[in-house]
Symmetry: C2
Subunit: 310 residues, 2 copies
C-alpha cells in the first residue's frame, strides 16, 4: 500500500509504503493504513481536508464500499467509514485504483491539458479508465474500463476471470512472461532457455524478456512484437468507440517502453481510421510513482467540494 | 429527409418526408427543408421554440456546421444559421444523426429509464452512440461511436473508409447482402441463386436474406449466424469498455430481428464477463419511425435551456 500527502494542486509532499498483508484481514489492514496516514500527517504537521483511496476489484465509490476485491479476500468492506474512524473522523472517499491512477495522470501527469483521456495500466493484468470532458467515466455499476477482458479471436490462454482469450492473458507483465515461458517450453532457441532452465522457468519475468530483447534474442523480440500488436489491436477497438484525445499508458509492464509501443503504434496506424490519428497523442505515464496518490487526493477534493458527479 | 413536430415531452405530433436530392446542392436542400418545417408549423398552428437536426458525417455540433458529409457532398456547410434564415430566425441546433436517433431511444424509447445506454444502428453502415449518466458522449471532435470501424481479425472485406475488415463490412444491411451474394457466387446451393440469377444478383438485399432464412435456406441461415456472431463479438468489446445498462439496436438492418439477435446473444454470453450480463438489458429500438426526430427535438430543447454540455 502506498500512501501520500499532496497539496491541493496535486503536488506530492510525502509518501510512505506499508505492506498489505491481506491475510490478516480487512480490519487489520485498515488499521495499519490509518497509522501510516496519521504518520504522514504528524510528520508534515498539517491537517488534510480529506483522504482519497483507490483499491482494486469492484468498488461502490458512492457509498465507499469495497464490494469485492478477490486478491485481498474482501467482500462488502465499508472501507471509508472504517478508515475515517482511525483518522479522527476525516472524510474519506473511495474509488477504483486504476481509475485513480488514470485520473492522476489525466489531471496532473501525461494527460494534463486533454479533455478526453483513455488511460491504461499494463501490470499483472490490463485495465483502463476514461476521463471525458474532464470527468471520470463510470458506466453502469462503475464497471467501465475492463480493457483487459476484451476477447481476442485466436488467443487461447485461459484467463483468471474464467473466459478464454481475454486481451490481458497476453497483454500484461504476466502475459509477456507466459509467452516467453511457452517459447522456452516449445524448445525455441533463446537465451532465456539457458537462463531459466528447469524449475527456474517459473521465475522468468517481463523484465527478463525486455533484457533478452535488448540482447537481440529472437524469441524475446517475437513476444514483444506480438504483445505490442495485440495491444494495438485492442486500442484500435477503443479509439473509434471513445475518440480519446490522449492515450496514456502506465503500469509496470509499460516499462517495456518502445519494445512494446513500436509494434503497438504500427498496428494502430494499420487498423484505425486516419481521422482519429491526426490529433491523437499516445504517451507513457509520467507519474509512475504517485499517479494513484495524486488521483485519489484530487478525487477526494472533488467529492469534498461536491463537484464530482458520482 | 424526415421532419417532425414534437411536444416538449418527446411526443411526435406530425411528420413529413422530403426527398433529399443532394445533387441540387446544400442551399437548395436547406431551402426545401425549411419549407417542409414551415409547412408542419402552419398545419399545426403552433410556434415551436427551437429546431433540432441530425445529419450523417462529421458534425461540429457546437457551431452547427456540417464539417463533412460524404454522401451529401457537403463540406463546411453552416447548416443551422442557413436553416434558421428560412424559419424566421428560430434557433436551430445540429448534431450527428445516429447520436440523435440513440438519444431519442434513450430518452423516450427502448432506453427510457436507463442511465447508461449504448445504442447502435444497423443500416447501410453500422454506427453507435452513447448516453452516460443521461448525457450524450461525444469524445474528442465529437467522433466517438464509430462502432462499425472496429477491426475484425479474419474479415477481409474492403471498407468504404479505406481499411480492410471493419465490422460494418459484414454487420450492416449492405454486409448481409454482400455475404449472401458471395454465397451465390461461390455456387452454394441456395434459393437465392434461383431468385437472383445473373445480373439480378446486385438487386439482392438483406430483406431477401431474411425471407430465405425463414424458408430454411442454409446459406441465408449461415449468413445471419455469422453476422449476428460478429455483432456479438463487437459488443463483447464495447461492453467491458463502457459498461452500459442497456443496449438498444435499431436501423433497417435490425429488422432481421431474432435471426440476428439470437447468434449475437450467444456470442455475447460466451465472450463477456458474467458480471456485466447480470443486469444488462439488450432491446430492439422502439421508435423506428421517429427516434431521430424525438432525439433532435429533445436535444434542441436541452440546448435552448443550456442544460446540454456541448
Amino acid at each position: 500500500m502506498v500512501c501520500g500527502l499532496t497539496d491541493e494542486t496535486g503536488r506530492t509532499l510525502r509518501m510512505a509504503k506499508v505492506a498489505t498483508e491481506a491475510q490478516r484481514g480487512s480490519e487489520d489492514v485498515i488499521e495499519r493504513l490509518g497509522k501510516a496516514v496519521n504518520g504522514l500527517i504528524a510528520e508534515a504537521s498539517v491537517t488534510p481536508e480529506a483522504v482519497g483511496i483507490g483499491i482494486p476489484g469492484f468498488v461502490d465509490h458512492v457509498n465507499g464500499v469495497s464490494v469485492l476485491a478477490v486478491n485481498l479476500g474482501w467482500k462488502n468492506v465499508p472501507i471509508t467509514s472504517e478508515l475515517s474512524k482511525h483518522l479522527g473522523g476525516l472524510p474519506v472517499y473511495l474509488n477504483h485504483d486504476v481509475r485513480m491512477y488514470v485520473y492522476g495522470e489525466a489531471v496532473a501527469g501525461a494527460g494534463q491539458g486533454y479533455k478526453h483521456v483513455f488511460g491504461l495500466t499494463v501490470g499483472t493484468g490490463l485495465a483502463a479508465a476514461m476521463v471525458n470532458e474532464g470527468r471520470l467515466y463510470y458506466g453502469s455499476g462503475g464497471r467501465a474500463g475492463e480493457f483487459g477482458h476484451i476477447p481476442v479471436p485466436g488467443l487461447e490462454y485461459h484467463c483468471n476471470c474464467g473466459m478464454v482469450g481475454c486481451l490481458e492473458t497476453a497483454v500484461s507483465a504476466t502475459g509477456i512472461a507466459r509467452q516467453a515461458r511457452e517459447a522456452v517450453q516449445r524448445g525455441e532457441s533463446t537465451i532465456l532457455a539457458e537462463r531459466f532452465a528447469g524449475d527456474n522457468l517459473q521465475q522468468l519475468t517481463a523484465a527478463d524478456v525486455s533484457r533478452a530483447y535488448d540482447e537481440g534474442d529472437p524469441a524475446a523480440i517475437a513476444v514483444m512484437e506480438r504483445t505490442g500488436t495485440l495491444l494495438g489491436r485492442g486500442l484500435a477497438a477503443a479509439i473509434p468507440l471513445f475518440s480519446p484525445e490522449a492515450i496514456v499508458i502506465g503500469g509496470g509492464g509499460s516499462l517495456a517502453g518502445e519494445r512494446l509501443f513500436a509494434p503497438m503504434r504500427k498496428e494502430i496506424e494499420r487498423s484505425t481510421l486516419s481521422f482519429y490519428l491526426d490529433d491523437l497523442v499516445i504517451k507513457p505515464a509520467e507519474r509512475i510513482e504517485d499517479a494513484g496518490i495524486v488521483g485519489s487526493a484530487l478525487y477526494a477534493k472533488q467529492r469534498l467540494n461536491g463537484t464530482d458527479m458520482v
